[in-house]
Symmetry: C2
Subunit: 228 residues, 2 copies
DNA sequence: CGCACTTTTGAGCGGAATCAATATCTGTGG
DNA sequence: CCACAGATATTGATTCCGCTCAAAAGTGCG
């Protein structure tokens, strides 16, 4: 068994597990696969830049990608952090000809890279399955993004961090423990905080039984966090 | 010509001018129309509540609808303000069975009200046009919503207000003038501000040649705002 | 003309950003 | 295995933005 074949099998598996392909039949998945190439990224690699003409959209197979915008002084604000299974820039399939944000690998990452025009054309000639899958993906992203706005506007830094920890510990009983899936500086950005603010939020949460050792988090009492 | 007929013609016109129907052919539009009823709302009418089972999605034909979420203490945060042509809760067509936010008329409003199940089923049997139209609508909303996050995180109150005014004055030369399309308290919510903060932002902008008389806005020099 | 609602203004406070310094972690090579 | 360098994270001090509460002023409608 050669190495390339193994790699392709792995890619294929990850491709199938993507949110975009989750509810597709085989035929549609194959159509989509034909529009795809694969790309490996190293940390800090730029996937595309705001203002670039939009040619491709992406699914994350492994690793993380950070979507962000910059203001005139160069300060950056994260819009979304995409992990395995997430897709991004697919909002440009049905309109929009330039990327509206920067995309940068936040880790070693493997991406599926779809040609926008080919996917759009494919969606024009199939029975609607492809368009429905895209719509489903966009709907999920829209919900997440609206959640994010509400969360930003309604909750303080400590509350947002507590909420994130609870989401990560989903399904565990108190006491829960897990490993953060990415760096704290990236997490800070995702939550709309400066890294210092995240640090201070963790310090506050220590008083409620949250222990942080590097990337390992231990939560003594999940209900104490829920009560915030 | 009777009154009801006139009214229906008006509804039909507004229906056609909706973002959702913008790129549809007649056949698809008719299919969609068959899933619709119409509703008139008075200011502060509740369209649906967070947690309600999702049965319908909506297009705004006239007036404004506010989408918002509440925290445990009852404080409210606006997620989106929908005006003529906008649709909302269409993110639930392909997944999600409860509304994730409150929707409230912010004005006398006329809405098209679509049965989610019927539209979903219609989208399963057509050639994909319906699904593509929905995907296009969701893509637009997603872009707006991501813009909102970036804007919130990157700009101060004064900058956000200035940006909003520039958008509203789109296409005019300096000096520009126009009327706000809704109350200041609603605008404040849309921009993620307390009403007092909006007021103070206007006060600050007075120094840059922005004059506010009730809902009438006059901008002496648009470039001065762009420079913020 | 008066009442209710919306908006503005003022004062004080609190949360998070910024800047700066220190501590901790990670991976590399001696 | 340890020492070291560079990156990452924490802590402290300060500033500033925007929220809250309270009161006054403005607006519009019957």
């Amino acid at each position: 068994m050669n190495r390339t074949l193994l790699l392709n099998e792995r890619k294929k598996t990850l491709f199938v597990e993507t949110k975009l392909t989750a509810n597709m039949d085989m035929a549609t998945m194959n159509k989509l696969m034909e529009c795809a190439t694969f790309a490996n990224c190293y940390p800090r690699d730029v996937v595309f830049r705001q203002g670039d003409p939009a040619t491709h959209f992406y699914s994350v197979l492994s690793g993380y990608v950070r979507l962000y915008r910059q203001n005139s002084e160069g300060r950056e604000a994260d819009i979304r952090v995409c992990g395995p299974g997430d897709s991004f820039a697919d909002d440009l399939i049905f309109g929009g000809d330039t990327y509206e944000y920067h995309a940068q690998a936040a880790d070693k990452a493997m991406l599926a890279r779809y040609d926008i025009n080919r996917v759009r054309n494919a969606s024009l000639v199939d029975d609607g399955m492809l368009a429905r899958a895209i719509a489903g993906s966009l709907a999920g992203q829209l919900q997440e993004t609206m959640d994010c706005i509400a969360n930003d506007r309604l909750n303080t830094a400590v509350q947002r961090v507590a909420l994130y920890l609870l989401e990560q510990a989903e399904g565990q009983e108190s006491p829960a423990s897990f490993r953060l899936s990415f760096q704290k500086s990236l997490l800070a950005g995702k939550l709309g905080l400066a890294p210092e603010a995240l640090s201070r939020a963790f310090a506050t949460l220590k008083g409620l039984g949250v222990h942080v050792h590097g990337r390992i988090i231990e939560i003594e009492d999940m209900d104490a966090l829920r009560a915030l």
